[in-house]
């Protein structure tokens, strides 16, 4: 095994070096660690009038949120950059237009000064409207340029009061910007309608929705989300597939994201050397309401449009992603003439059969995640079966029979030889 690994590592390094300066500079850093950039979290807190309601462990929702925030600020890991944004904190009037613009940055996303942040939180008092959509739009702009993971934690006790701007669509648009932003939502003593809205926001960005009825739950959950942001995660690289193989971008090993609209095909190219194996997997996420039956198909096709292998998946019912994958080991070449190109270009085509639910916007397309690994091809044999070893009673029987027959023949031969010797 080790003997075989070295040349492969060498080839990999060489390939990486050769292609580093070529067409796709981003591909060279695909899947690079993101630990260097600080993870960023923006807590978005609803400070609308309804937060006065006293139904969380006997205290008002606002008091519970403040207490939870204090605990969270104390427990935030050192490396996390935390910011706080409010919605409905300043405008107490009745003008809907004004009320729907009411969102402000209470504490900027950056290195955390716990005392300062706590003082800022203490000043809050329940005031105005619930402009969730506008607040999310603003919050998405709060983050710095870093590559670290970005997370918005939205805490609200009432549904958005600023229709027609649907916060769910706002979330989808933010996700489509490709900045790797996740929105987690928490509903304080929610009704079914709020639950639906907040979980729709969360699902649009791959986040989670939690309903909260006790103060300790709130602190625990927000802490967990902040911790989760601090965990190093591989960030995918944005790629843009083409409508045909000829125009498709060439990808290397790594993790990529793209968007694929309903009824669209996405093509990518991968170069595979003889003796290497291409492994590709694709996940298409349903980030909006889609009809219950769906499928996804990943095909590996040669440049001459011959299908090599395909991976397909179909599902029904509620789902976050539908995924499939394929393997294509390219055989070692026997003839060693240098005329043929060394690497074969394999075209990968991704299609999905999600269909949008009634009244759902179809743009931007569904998020697509593509993993590509080009590794050394399968070994000839190191498995015991191929040492010629067998098992089972039939094997035993055959061996015994063969041995017995050989013994018989041998005995007869030696008897015959003895007879010949005696007569001569």
């Amino acid at each position: 095994m080790i003997r075989r690994k070295w040349p492969a590592a060498g080839v990999g390094v060489l390939l990486a070096a050769l292609t580093a300066g070529l067409a796709l500079p981003s591909a060279a850093v695909a899947g690079e660690p993101t630990g260097r950039d600080a993870p960023q979290v923006d807590l978005v807190l609803d400070v609308s009038g309804s937060m006065r309601t006293r139904d969380i462990d006997g205290q008002s929702r606002m008091a519970a949120a403040k207490q939870a925030f204090n605990e969270v600020l104390d427990a935030t890991p050192e490396e996390v950059e935390l910011g706080i944004r409010t919605l409905g904190a300043d405008y107490p009037g009745d003008d809907r237009k004004e009320g729907c613009k009411d969102t402000a940055q209470l504490y900027p996303v950056g290195p955390l000064d716990r005392t300062e942040a706590k003082t800022a939180v203490a000043t809050l008092s329940p005031t105005g409207w619930t402009p969730i959509g506008p607040a999310l739009l603003e919050a998405a702009g709060d983050f710095g340029d870093g590559d670290g993971s970005k997370r918005i934690v939205l805490i609200s006790d009432g549904e958005d009061t600023c229709a027609p701007l649907d916060p769910c669509e706002v979330a989808r648009e933010i996700a489509a910007r490709g900045i790797g932003l996740t929105i987690d939502t928490l509903g304080l003593v929610p009704n079914a309608k709020l639950s639906r809205q907040l979980s729709c926001i969360a699902e649009a960005t791959g986040g989670t929705y939690t309903s909260v009825e006790h103060q300790d739950e709130l602190a625990e959950r927000v802490n967990e989300l902040v911790d989760r942001a601090a965990e190093p995660v591989v960030t995918p690289v944005a790629a843009e597939g083409a409508a045909s193989c000829a125009k498709a971008p060439t990808l290397e090993s790594g993790l990529y994201t793209d968007r694929e609209e309903f009824g669209q095909q996405r093509w990518y190219r991968v170069d595979v050397l003889p003796g290497q194996e291409l492994r590709a997997s694709v996940s298409v996420a349903a980030d909006r309401a889609v009809n219950p039956d769906h499928g996804v198909l990943l095909r590996a096709v040669t440049v001459h449009d011959r299908e090599i292998v395909r991976g397909e998946a179909a599902g029904t019912g509620r789902t976050d992603v539908l995924s499939t994958g394929l393997r294509y080991p390219k055989p070692e070449r026997d003839d060693d003439d240098g005329d043929k190109p060394a690497a074969e270009t394999v075209c990968l085509a991704v299609t999905h059969s999600f269909s949008p639910g009634a009244g759902v916007k179809t743009t931007p397309g569904l998020p697509l995640e593509l993993t590509i690994d080009v590794v050394e091809g399968p070994d000839g044999s190191s498995d015991v079966a191929s040492f010629g070893l067998g098992r089972g009673w039939w094997l035993l029987g055959t061996l015994v029979l063969a041995g017995f027959l050989a013994g018989l023949v041998w005995g007869w031969l030696s008897r015959w030889r003895f007879a010949v010797w005696r007569t001569s």
């Binding site: 630990g35 791959g206 394929l326 041995g403």
Partner: protein, 275 residues
């Protein structure tokens, strides 16, 4: 004289290998390491393939999550194992009927079929918990690219409520997930093996290993990191050695018996002494 030597050698070989027959017959007993070690696993779950929380077989992963979340874990499985994934969900005190599902995907994110076990189960209103189980097919060392047989590598577990009412969305549940496996032994051996296990991102990690040496020890994010307890290569031992050795010994014995049968016992009586 030669015959007796041969015979005794064959007998010795038989005696030796007869002692080793036991493991051959015990092909399908679970390995003690797989199930007896009840380690505490991670206390969190990931929310996508990319962020799946890793745990080892034999560990119990726990998580506090919300109804409606899609929860992901991953564990490594090696050749010859038949993994079983079990999940139990402790539901809130009051709730409407909801259906939970456990899905297992391989390292290429291909959904893997369950041989046995309730993969989907509906909890009646106010039921205290749901138990789900999935017994996968045996992990083989190699398969045709056109087959989706389980191969050694990372396995993803996805747990979610597939049918629920809006009122239950976001409610807290406690979840336990366990993975263990039964060793299927030599019966599952096939001719061939993969050069690298089916671990997502393995190509990048190999490249990174090759380039290492600049003293960079910052924590790097990888898609999957864990290896099975005994490493990816299942080792050279297999019950097939015993079967084949016993077969060889028996064949030798049978050969001797056959020889004796046709050769006759000792010299023919007509041969004069001293000839």
């Amino acid at each position: 004289m030669r015959i007796t030597r041969l015979l005794s050698a064959a007998l010795l070989a038989f005696g030796l290998s007869a002692a080793a027959v036991a493991p051959a017959a015990a092909d399908s007993t679970p390995s003690p390491g797989a199930s007896s070690e009840e380690g505490a696993g991670p206390t969190r779950a990931g929310t996508s393939f990319r962020t799946a929380t890793e745990f080892e077989q034999g560990q119990t992963a726990t998580a506090r999550a919300s109804v409606g979340d899609y929860l992901y874990w991953s564990f490594p499985a090696s050749t010859g194992q038949r993994p079983t994934v079990e999940a139990s969900v402790k539901l809130p005190k009051t709730h409407a009927a909801e259906t939970w599902r456990l899905d297992v995907y391989d390292g290429l994110r291909r959904r893997q079929a369950c041989q046995y076990g309730a993969q989907t189960r509906t909890a009646a209103a106010d039921a205290a918990s749901v138990e789900l189980k999935c017994v996968l097919r045996t992990v083989r060392a190699w398969a045709e690219p056109w087959a989706d047989d389980p191969l050694p590598g990372t396995y993803y577990v996805r747990l979610t409520a597939v049918n629920l009412t809006a009122g239950d969305l976001g409610r807290s549940v406690d979840i336990e997930v366990r993975a263990g496996s039964e060793e299927m032994g030599g019966a599952a051996a096939v001719d061939g093996s993969l050069s690298e296990p089916l671990v997502p991102g393995v190509a990048l990690r190999n490249a990174a290993d090759g380039q290492d040496g600049d003293g960079d020890d910052s924590p790097t994010a990888v898609l999957a990191d864990l290896e099975p307890e005994d490493g990816w290569t299942s080792g050279w031992w297999s019950s097939r050695w015993v079967w084949t050795a016993v077969g060889g010994a028996l064949a030798a014995l049978a050969g001797v018996a056959g020889y004796r049968l046709t050769r006759g016992t000792g010299r023919p009586s007509r041969v004069p002494p001293g000839a």
